[in-house]
């Protein structure tokens, strides 16, 4: 059954809410009252419920099955966290309530900050960034601010070629130029190449650890020493913290700042593309430059600092409205309290164990890019598909027909036709074994010459492969009453 757009379900005079007529008053709109209708459709509540229920049924989530998207950490999202995010006195709290009426909320933020600092062994954390990329921005701005205070002009940031695309984009958004560092044959930063790039114009290195090949950068400490010796800062992308939480503290490795994706490591739901939250832990060197606002705790209780109050703090500014992604804070704190220090450690261990289990169980039929062990994700390239006529994309789409969400494809760029799979700690061995068996069967099929199955995939989805080129060439980004495309689609 095809589900139309809400605009195509429209009928005049229908409404999904019941509101009494407004009390009669003399308006104070100064003649700026809207003249034309907005153009919104009229639907009743049952129609809205059914429409979005049906849309949801066209979606795949962690609740539907394994979602081994590398670098995305699609782990179980407990319903307890959803419930608590809606708790009275938290979910309904207004951000501009006087601090005296929000002591519990401020305490919650402070408690979460304590957990994040303890897990990372870092002395400070900026809580307000709204997502991972926003956290990167926060960290790089703090670095720039620190350099400015030192009166230096350092305009270059070193970024490995395997970096997330957000890293260079963030560096650019802070006015830095980006200089790429190559990887060595072991999938790590080439230490010599990196050292050769250092200079007094280098502001920082932005490194992901564990890196985007799913490997631990074993030269972390050497890198930290080198960048610090060169007068730069060490930015660590924390997207892969799930591999090491509770086992390795990034602060022990000499980093200066790292963002933490609460929606990756600490299980706040991805929600089809957010919201996230990206708190940034900071070293003592960078701590003074944390953005506004932040929470302080003194004898009088908790207090929100929303403006530069002088003193040691030299906040670089504000990154968003209000104080951070409170709803995500509640969820991630609930996740951490549930796991505890012991559970976090066990979770990261299970995530790494599961990835290595995939690596060990698949490396005879797929081509592992680097020798193991890996961290929490296993990287393969498309060498095993050579001469089969099946591409990485075809292979991934064929997985959908077997009931699995595909892994990440074509990233990282350092290997050809990458297939990056991250099982997380949330999958049972039974599911991992099913996944392995499915992939092995697909490998056999690809090698058997049965290309058409791959080219036709996916076949059992609400839609077959979609024409992304056409979408980009002549973008249709909204419904319009007169658009040919919308009515002809039925």
């Amino acid at each position: 059954l095809e589900e139309p757009l809400i605009f195509e379900l429209d009928a005049q005079g229908r409404c999904g809410v019941d509101l009494d007529p407004a009390p009669a008053v003399q308006d104070r709109l100064g003649g700026l009252k809207r003249r034309a209708p907005v153009g919104l459709p009229g639907l009743s509540e049952p129609q809205v419920v059914r429409h979005f229920t049906r849309l949801s049924q066209k979606n795949y989530g962690i609740d539907s099955g394994m979602y081994p998207l590398g670098s995305c950490t699609m782990k179980h999202n407990p319903r307890l966290n959803e419930k608590l995010a809606r708790a009275k006195g938290l979910g309904d709290l207004h951000p501009m309530q006087p601090d005296s009426t929000a002591q519990g909320a401020l305490e919650l933020i402070d408690t979460l900050a304590h957990w994040l600092k303890t897990i990372t062994a870092m002395p400070a954390v900026a809580m307000s960034p709204a997502a991972g990329a926003h956290g990167e921005l926060c960290g790089m701005m703090a670095i720039k601010a620190a350099i400015d205070v030192r009166g230096e002009k350092r305009g270059r940031v070193l970024v490995p070629e395997s970096a997330h695309g957000t890293n260079p984009a963030t560096a650019a958004a802070c006015g830095f130029s980006v200089d790429s560092i190559p990887a060595n044959a072991r999938g790590r930063v080439d230490l010599d190449a990196f050292k050769a790039k250092l200079g007094d114009d280098v502001a920082a290195i932005m490194l992901t650890n564990p890196n985007t090949c799913g490997l631990f950068e074993n030269d972390m400490i050497a890198i930290a020493e080198a960048i610090h010796d060169a007068g730069g800062y060490f930015y660590c992308d924390g997207a892969n913290l799930n591999a090491i939480m509770g086992r390795v503290r990034p602060g022990d490795l000499g980093i200066d700042c790292m963002h933490i994706n609460l929606h990756k490591t600490f299980s706040t739901p991805h929600g089809g593309g957010g919201p996230g939250a990206g708190p940034v832990v900071l070293s003592a060197a960078l701590a003074p430059f944390a953005p506004l606002p932040y929470v302080v705790h003194d004898a009088a209780g908790y207090r929100l600092v929303e403006h530069d109050e002088g003193g040691d703090a030299q906040p670089f500014g504000r990154l968003k409205g209000y104080h951070g992604q409170m709803g995500m804070f509640i969820r991630s704190l609930a996740y951490m309290l549930s796991h505890g220090a012991d559970g976090l450690r066990r979770a990261s261990g299970d995530a790494v164990l599961s990835a290595n289990y995939l690596l060990a169980s698949l490396q005879d039929v797929m081509s592992a890019s680097f020798p193991g062990p890996c961290m929490h994700e296993a990287l393969f390239d498309d060498h095993f598909l050579k001469d089969t006529g099946v591409t990485t994309l075809d292979f991934a789409k064929a997985m959908i027909d077997e009931g699995f969400h595909p892994m990440t494809m074509y990233f990282p760029l350092v290997v050809h036709g990458a297939l990056l799979m991250e099982p997380t700690e949330s999958e049972s061995k039974e599911t991992l074994d099913q996944y392995i068996a499915t992939l092995r069967a697909l490998c056999a099929r690809a090698k058997s010459g049965d290309i058409q199955t791959f080219k036709d995939a996916p076949r059992f989805t609400p839609r077959r492969r979609l024409d992304e080129t056409a979408a980009a060439r002549k973008p249709v980004l909204r419904w319009k009453a007169e658009t040919e495309g919308t009515s002809a689609a039925q």
Binding site: P269, R318, A341, P373
Partner: protein, 447 residues
């Protein structure tokens, strides 16, 4: 551990397959000494009941707007959220999905985003919208950067009526990009002269309506002034419900419209997560930041949706991307879309009318109190009053009486002594006559 499906037997079997003796052997690349042997210094795991009690106890330390007359606004507004909205966004297929990179198994999220984009475009009177930003303030900053890219100019003129958080976020970005940010100081008297500040190097003018004091503005003349100088007009709103009753910025000539979408479908949640709305003209779409969902066809010719124009985005363009934004506010956008679908044309208009009427009634009631002067000539559901005492103290006195009595301007603009006695008061459909009566009675006591 309720969240971990592996048993000890599973772990042994898996380690055997891998060929190592213990999980810690998989961490062999970690520098010696950095691999912890013990758990970090934090409490051990807790059952669901304990976690629930811990968090509920924190909630109980706050005064909930659900329990107290609440007149807080200043960019975040308390509205009734239909139960349908909260049910729908909790469905696992929406909640636990990733960004829809695999469109064949993400048509639900994608179609909803397409509907969201259309709703935002309609609401603002613009051609197109993106699939959401972090919040209104960050959307505003992105708009300024976008204007700079389009005009290749590095100067922005910001109205004194712009919400100070929005101003601050834009300033932060400008500082790092070397842009010049200027504009008149906030003032309560008369209209500010912004048109006179536009020069040939001005990328954009940013103006908010209703502004932070609650006043409405006709942007038509300003839009013309901008366009004469080759600058873009960026219109900002913090209360999406206002667009149900007042003329949309798109009609008045704005080039980019940004604002906060929290009011529709999203809980207050102490400030986040919210949902930034971002709309512009067709001609600027390739300079627009953020994700967009576009319509296309599948291999059988059926209509479907995909994320598109990704060549603007950081995973393709890296340092040349239009923005570094990646994860946005997908689920908040879904909440917005579901609530807006329930409201529809009639519901949104009526909701806006009720909000305005409540605010008018509130203004009339407080104006009658000795020591209160309503400053605004025009407003939607929020306005400024001048008191005879510092507003921050009055707010504390009201809180002691169980009333969340508005936002003192001094909290938003602490450096400006002329606003010490000014208070922002907001009213929505959630405010009852009894709430207004309680506020008025309390104000009489504390003034």
């Amino acid at each position: 551990m309720r969240y971990l499906p592996l048993t000890d037997a599973d772990r042994s079997a898996m380690l055997d397959k891998i060929g190592v003796g213990a999980t810690r052997d998989l961490y062999c690349d970690v520098p010696a000494g950095a691999l912890l042997t013990d758990p970090v210094d934090l409490p051990l795991h807790k059952g669901e009941q304990d976690v629930e009690r811990t968090i509920a106890a924190l909630g109980a330390k706050n005064i909930s707007p659900s329990d107290a007359p609440c007149f807080l606004g200043a960019g975040a507004y308390r509205h009734h959220i239909p139960a349908t909205v909260d049910y729908m966004i909790q469905r696992g297929e929406f909640l636990t999905a990733y960004t829809p990179y695999q469109p064949e198994v993400s048509q639900g999220t994608l179609q909803a985003l397409f509907e969201f984009q259309t709703q935002v475009a309609l609401l603002t009177g613009m051609d197109v919208a993106n699939a959401s930003m972090y919040d209104g303030a960050s959307a505003c900053a992105e708009a300024v950067m976008m204007a700079a890219r389009i005009t290749r100019r590095g100067r922005a003129v910001l109205s004194g009526g712009l919400h100070p958080h929005y101003r601050a976020v834009a300033d932060t970005h400008a500082r790092f990009l070397g842009h010049e940010m200027t504009g008149p100081a906030p003032r309560l008297e008369g209209d500010e002269d912004i048109a006179g500040l536009i020069d040939d190097n001005t990328a954009c003018v940013v103006v908010q309506t209703p502004d932070v004091f609650g006043r409405l503005h006709d942007l038509t003349a300003l839009a013309e002034a901008c366009h004469e100088k080759g600058a873009l007009l960026i219109a900002v709103f913090t209360e999406a419900v206002s667009l149900g009753l007042i003329a949309p910025p798109g009609e008045m000539g704005a080039d980019i419209v940004v604002g906060e979408g929290q009011s529709i479908g999203n809980a207050l949640s102490f400030g986040g997560p919210y949902v930034g709305l971002f709309a512009t003209r067709d001609k600027y779409v390739r300079q627009m930041p953020g994700r967009v969902c576009g319509q296309t066809r599948d291999s059988e010719g059926k209509r479907g949706w995909v994320l598109t124009l990704s060549t603007r985005e950081q995973h393709i363009r890296r340092e040349k991307a239009t923005s570094n934004i990646c994860t946005n506010a997908g689920l908040c956008a879904l909440a917005f879309t579901v609530h807006m679908s329930l409201l529809g044309e009639d519901g949104l208009r009526r909701l806006a009318e009720i909000n305005h009427a409540k605010a008018v009634m509130l203004a009339d009631k407080v104006a009658a109190i000795n020591g209160v002067r309503v400053v605004n000539d025009t407003f939607f559901n929020e306005f400024t009053v001048e008191l005879t005492r510092p507003a921050a103290l009055v707010v504390e006195d009201l809180a002691a009486r169980g009333i969340l009595g508005g936002v003192p301007l001094s909290r938003l603009m602490p450096g400006r002594a002329q606003f010490a006695n000014h208070l922002l008061l907001a009213a929505s459909e959630t405010v009852g006559d009894d709430d207004i009566a309680r506020l008025c009675a309390a104000l009489k006591e504390v003034l």
